[in-house]
Each structure stands twice: as C-alpha cells, then as structure tokens.
Symmetry: C2
C-alpha cells in the first residue's frame, strides 16, 4: 500500500483526486499495490465534495498532510509559489517524495529545489508543469537521453495561442479575443501572465533546466508579450507572406551559451508548429541523433494537467512500492554557475515591419534610408491604402542583427512622418525567406 | 561499470555503436557509471570499422556476446526475427536485460517474450520498434499511465508516407515514387513490407500490446497496402474534397474488443496527421483524461533509430548500475485470451469511390441503384472527362457499413459497363463530411 497526500484541490488537484478514485483498479495494477489518498487539503471546504474526496480524508490544515508519517508522496498543487516551496521543503525533510505542476516555482527556485532533493534522497516529478498532459519532460529527459538537445521551439502557452488564432480567424482585437478565451475556459480572468509571455518563460526555463545541468535564470530569458500584435499584422503576414503568427518560446544551444526567448513570431505555413492552433501546445525538440521530434496536445484544462500529475504519481508510487524510489536521481543539476544567455541584440532574424506614416512624399525614402544606414536590408516592401491611423508601410527584411534593427526603429519612430510606434515581428525559419 | 553487448551492426546497430563512443561522457553522467561496449557481433567483418568498434571488441560469433558473463545488457539489433528470438531467450536465461528494435519479432511473439521476461526477472525495452526515435512507447506506457487509451491513429511507416507524398506532389506513379524513395534512402530495395502495410501492422500490434494487457494477434489486424492508390485519386481527393491521402494505422477500443486496421485513408486538411508528410511519422494517442496527444518525427534512419536504442540502453544501464533493474515490471501482459479484433465489415466509414466506366447512358443510374439497394447513400457524385481507361465516376458516400459497401462493389464490378475494379478509400474523420 502506498499512501499519498494532496495539497491544493483547485482545478488540477480536484481533477487528480477524481482520477485517483475513478481509475483505482487500473492504478493498483500499475503501482503493484493499493494507492490510498490519505489526506487532501484545501482552504475551500466546498472543494471536498466537487473533487469526491471523502470527509474523513479532507482537511483545511495542510500540516495534517505534511505531518502524517504514513504518507510517502505528496502532490503539491497549490498555485502559490512561496507556499508550495515551503511545503516541498517540509516534504523532503520528512522523507516524502513530491509531484508538482507549479512552473513559476520551478522556474524561480530550481537550484534550491534540486539541491534539497539530492540531499534528502527524495524525488520531485513535474511533468504537468510544461505542456500540461503532454509527456514532454519525460520525453526529453529519458526518451531522448541519447541526444544532445540543440534546440527547443515551442508553443507553450495555450491561452495566447488561442487568442492569436481567434484574432486570425475573426480579425478581432486582442481584448475581444481575450474575452472569448475567458468565456470558453481557455483563459483565467486575469490572463496577464499568459499575454505577457511570463507563463511561457517559466515553462521555457523548466525545459532549459531539464536539458542543461547548469540552470538558466528566469530573468535572463528574453520576453515579449503578444500584446504588440494587431489583427492587421496577422492578416497581412498571412495573406502577403503565408505566415502564421504564433506565441513562440525558443531555446537554442550555442556552445556553452544559449539563446532563450519568448515572443510572438511568424512561421512559414509548412512548419509543423504553424498547424498548432487554438488552445493547443506544440513542442519541437531537436537532438543531434533524433533530429526533430514534436510533442503536441492540449496545453491546458483540468483533466490534461491531472493526467500528467497522476502519471507522475503512478510512476513514483510504483518506485516507492518496489523500494527503489530515490535510488536513481531524476534530474542532474549543477550547483555552480548557470548557463549564460546570449544578448538578444546579438541574434539575427528576418523581420516583418509595419510603419504607420503620414501620406507625404519622401517618407518611404526616409525610412528605407535609415534601415540601410543600420545595415538592415529590405527584401520586399509595399504600401497599403490609407487607414484611419495613417498609411501603413509593410516590409519584410533580409536577416539582420536585432541590435541594428532596434537602433534603426528608434530613429524611425522619432520621425515626424511616423505616427505610431513601429511594429516588428520576428520570422522564425531555418531557411531564409526569399 | 556496466558492460553491454550488441548483436547486429547494420544500419541501427552501427549507429548505436557510434553514439555510445561519441557520447561516452554524457552517457557516463546519466548512467552513473562507465558504460563499456564489451562485445559487438556481426557476420560482416567490414562493419567493425564503419561503426568504430575496436577489433578487440568485435566478433563474428554471437555466442561470444551471449556467453560473456560480464555483459548484463544486450542490444539485439538483427533483422532476423527467429534469430533475434533465440538470442533474447538465451539472454534472459543468463540474466541479461535486452534492448531491441525488432517489431516483426515483437508483433509475432509478444506473449512468449514477455512471459520469459517475467519469469527471468529480466527486462526488455523496445522504444525503437515504433516511430524510430520518437519516444512514443515510453510516452504511452509511462507518460500517459493515468489514462485509459481509447484510440491510436498513426502514420507508422515512413516509406509509404514518403511515396504517397511524392505521388501527391509530382503526380508520379507508385513505382516511380518508390524508385525515388530508394534513391533518397527512405526505402530499402525490397519495400514490399512497407507498401503492403505489414510493417505498420507490426508496429500497430506493438502499440496495442503496450496498451492492452490482453495481446492483439498480428493476423487479426486488418491490412491493406497503399498499392491500390493511384495518382488520380490523390489528386481528385485533394482538389475536390480537400483530403490528404495517408497510410494510416488505427487502434480503437470498443468495450472489451478493438478495431485494429492498417490501410490508406483520406484525412481532412485540418487533421494534424494530414500535415505529417514525407518520411515522417505521426502518432496521435487519445486518452480519457489527456484527450489527444501527438508524437511526431522522422520515422526512419540510422541515427533516429539509434537514438531510441541508446536511450533505452542508458535507462536500463542506469537501473543496472543502481541495482534496481527488473524490480519493477515494464509491460503488463496477461497470458490468457487475447483482445478480440472487430470484423472490418462491421465498421462504418464514409468512402471515396472511383469507377471506370464505358461512356454509355444509364451507367450512373445502374451503379447508384446498386449502392442504394445495399444501403450505401451517396453524398456527392461527379463524372470526369473521358480518359484512356474509360469515364471516371467519382463519389463520396455518407457513412456506410463496410460489409454493405463491399457487397455493392462486388456487384458493380461485375457490371459490363464497368471496365476496371472499382477503387474505394476510407475517409478517417470524427465528424461526418457534408
């Protein structure tokens, strides 16, 4: 018999309790022993019933979970990162293994957590923290263990992918699309962490730290939200250049350094990630032997996330039952220096640019002159009919260094003929678009 | 230190030996000990050099691998299923764990192998047997362990996918596309097992047996090759109905029974599998909690397959090093009755139909009359300009029982006005095409 506890019976935790009960027999077969949910805790008493936890197992006091010596495994499923950290620390101290889905916690306190894990001999599994139910952590860590992972390119945030997909289909504004996402259950009322790219940056950090023993720090990940994108850019990029706009997270090895960035990007239509739409996630992982492998599925929701948590629980409980849990370390993390992240200004991309200008002769020449002086070469350029906000000038550039482009844009934005901050979106493609 | 052996240094085995040498340091870190390739065997002496195996470790006598007591893990990478089986039996008898990529062996002798594995306490890993380097076996078995898997829908054979993709792009014939596949290294000179669907059926069987404790027998899997498909069908299906033709393998749970079938199928363009082209594989797995998860990547090639084998080796060697290998069973297989497969004639599909007829009045009425009598209802129908082989009549049906359709087609094929055996391709879609 393996006794477990749950701290947090919200969306994910409630789903976990449900599946544990509904799939009892199947789980017993896999674990090799009865799996008992001994104690489940949440401050909201009404969640006991909705998640089917019996009154005898339910508590509002998390210490009852931590202090129960029969419990050898705790699913820490609270959204509060600081509280989750305290729980995990206490679990390790008391010899309890942990499963969590809290990416904010993992991204910000990776070293501490894995140092404590190693010292205590207790394991922590966290499959649900990236890609929800998609088994990408295990896939990278074990299934692709033979590979040096050179790149990860992923759509890691379902909410922002849903919003950009909606904007593309309906030509709706970001806030209209956001409202719809809330209504359909693909966004929380406060989706600022999704829109700003923070959630994706957390997940990219987790992936980076599974791949690199020397961790990547969260605040070194370049981050740009999808709120710079307007429906007009999605439409032009699609109709003129056959691009899809996607909320992208990229990690790429450059010798001892990495590129780590989260921002909206334009993908050519034949890129598999361009086909990942709505609330779905897609994660392309490139290893030196395997080349590209993509993992795809729903990036959010009660049951997909609970699927990953319960799979982790089964997997750990099986090890506990057979007396081998903690014998093999799960993640290798060095305590020394981290992996340095390259300066975004040193990277090069092709760019989609949109300038809103006054309708006067000479403006195009002025803009292209400044780009030229900064060494940004234009691949194609066209002007659209005048709109309310001025005359849009659209450009696609050849590959240019980001620092050079930014310098040029700040000069262009200062021109009197330019009426709005110019828009730029990076093209993410291995081959130069011509 | 963990000592291993390799039997078979062909495409995959040679790649494995190479990666073991090239990634020595990384592998040592993961295993927690030095991994030594003690003995590698192949009858072709020249393969010693191409795979970088030192003369001291190379042998042409496989018994040297099996009889070396220091070897605790053997990668059995010969293509000969009977010989592979003898090797595995001997490994288990001598307490050696096994990694293999041989799907023909696994599909045909699953029960025997896993009975011997359980009795001996030795493990067998086989990630490379399906989807090459894509970690789909582990994904299903461990990453999705919380789920009841209800369906698997996959493009499991890279060669036939490459051929159909080429036929679609170039309007080439099957044999032209096949020749190109051989030239580009995506097909062997004898690709009959790929074309006929046998290879995909092997892989579907392996997936089925990972999912269902009661095994599915290979000869119960319905199997139809891609050689019934002509370029004209690919073109019409695409241009008229926006379908992609894909070599599909489907497994679906129906209570205690399953649907298990391999055949070319038409996919709507927005199906993620429709975007899986060329030599790639894509495997959609549907679980009750996680909904659909797709695994995608190269389905063939030396290094992708070697990636999966070496990952298995690392994973097993780690367990051997920490003294826990064999403590937890990997696959659960019952020795009793198998899982029965539903009769194909009882399943229902929408169908694309093509009849080649003589140019006479009344033919269309005769054909549609027979279909109607069998209860096959026509959704749309059109006639193309006359070709060399007659006048093509194309139809898309509503959902119909396969048995009823086959009965109608055999009557239609017997008509004097019908010049060739009629073509039918199943539409694979969850929603009825209208």
């Amino acid at each position: 018999m393996v006794s477990i506890g749950i701290i947090g019976l919200g969306t994910v935790g409630g789903g976990v309790a449900e599946i544990l009960e509904r799939r009892k027999d199947r789980i017993r077969d896999r674990v090799g022993a009865e799996l008992i949910l001994r104690k489940a805790c949440d401050l909201r008493e009404e969640l006991s019933e909705t998640s089917g936890v019996s009154p005898g197992s339910f508590t509002t006091d998390y210490r009852e979970v931590l202090e129960d010596d029969s419990i050898t495994l705790v699913a820490v499923l609270t959204g509060n990162a600081d509280f989750a950290f305290e729980c995990i620390k206490e679990c390790f101290k008391r010899g309890k293994h942990v499963v969590t889905a809290n990416k904010a916690l993992l991204a910000s306190r990776w070293r501490e957590i894995f140092t404590l894990s190693r010292e205590s001999g207790c394991l922590i599994y966290f499959e649900a923290s990236v890609g929800s139910g998609i088994p990408v952590i295990q896939g990278i860590n074990e299934g692709l263990a033979a590979n040096t992972i050179d790149r990860v390119k992923g759509i890691l945030n379902g909410t922002s992918n849903y919003i950009l997909t909606r904007m593309s289909i309906d030509s709706s504004t970001l806030s209209e699309a956001e409202a719809l996402a809330v209504k359909e259950g693909f966004a929380e009322v406060d989706s600022s962490a999704d829109i700003s790219g923070l959630d994706a940056a957390h997940k990219l950090c987790v992936l980076a730290n599974v791949i690199f023993p020397r961790p990547v720090e969260l605040d070194e990940v370049y981050r740009e939200g999808i709120d710079s994108i307007e429906a007009i850019d999605i439409e032009i990029a699609r109709d003129m250049f056959s691009f899809s706009v996607k909320p992208l997270a990229v990690l790429r090895r450059h010798g001892d350094k990495v590129e780590a960035r989260v921002h909206p990007a334009l993908l050519p239509e034949d890129d598999m990630l361009a086909g990942v739409s709505r609330e779905n996630n897609g994660i392309l992982v490139e290893g030196d032997a395997v080349k590209g492998v993509m993992f795809y599925g729903k990036g959010a929701g009660r049951y997909p996330a609970a699927s990953a948590v319960v799979s982790d629980i089964i997997y750990l409980a099986q090890k506990i039952n057979y007396g081998v849990a903690g014998r093999i370390p799960y993640i290798h993390t060095d305590t020394g220096a981290g992996t340095p992240v390259l300066d975004m200004n040193e990277l090069s991309f092709q760019y989609y640019l949109r300038f809103m200008t006054v309708d006067e002769p000479g403006v195009l020449s002025e803009i292209s002159g400044i780009l030229g002086e900064s060494g940004v070469s234009i691949l194609s350029c066209f002007q659209r009919g005048r709109g309310e906000e001025g005359v849009p000038i659209i450009m696609l550039t050849h590959k240019a260094r980001e620092g050079a482009l930014r310098e040029a844009l700040s000069r262009i934005d200062a021109l009197e003929a330019v009426k709005k901050k110019s828009v730029f979106i990076r093209v993410e493609s291995d081959r130069e678009i011509e």
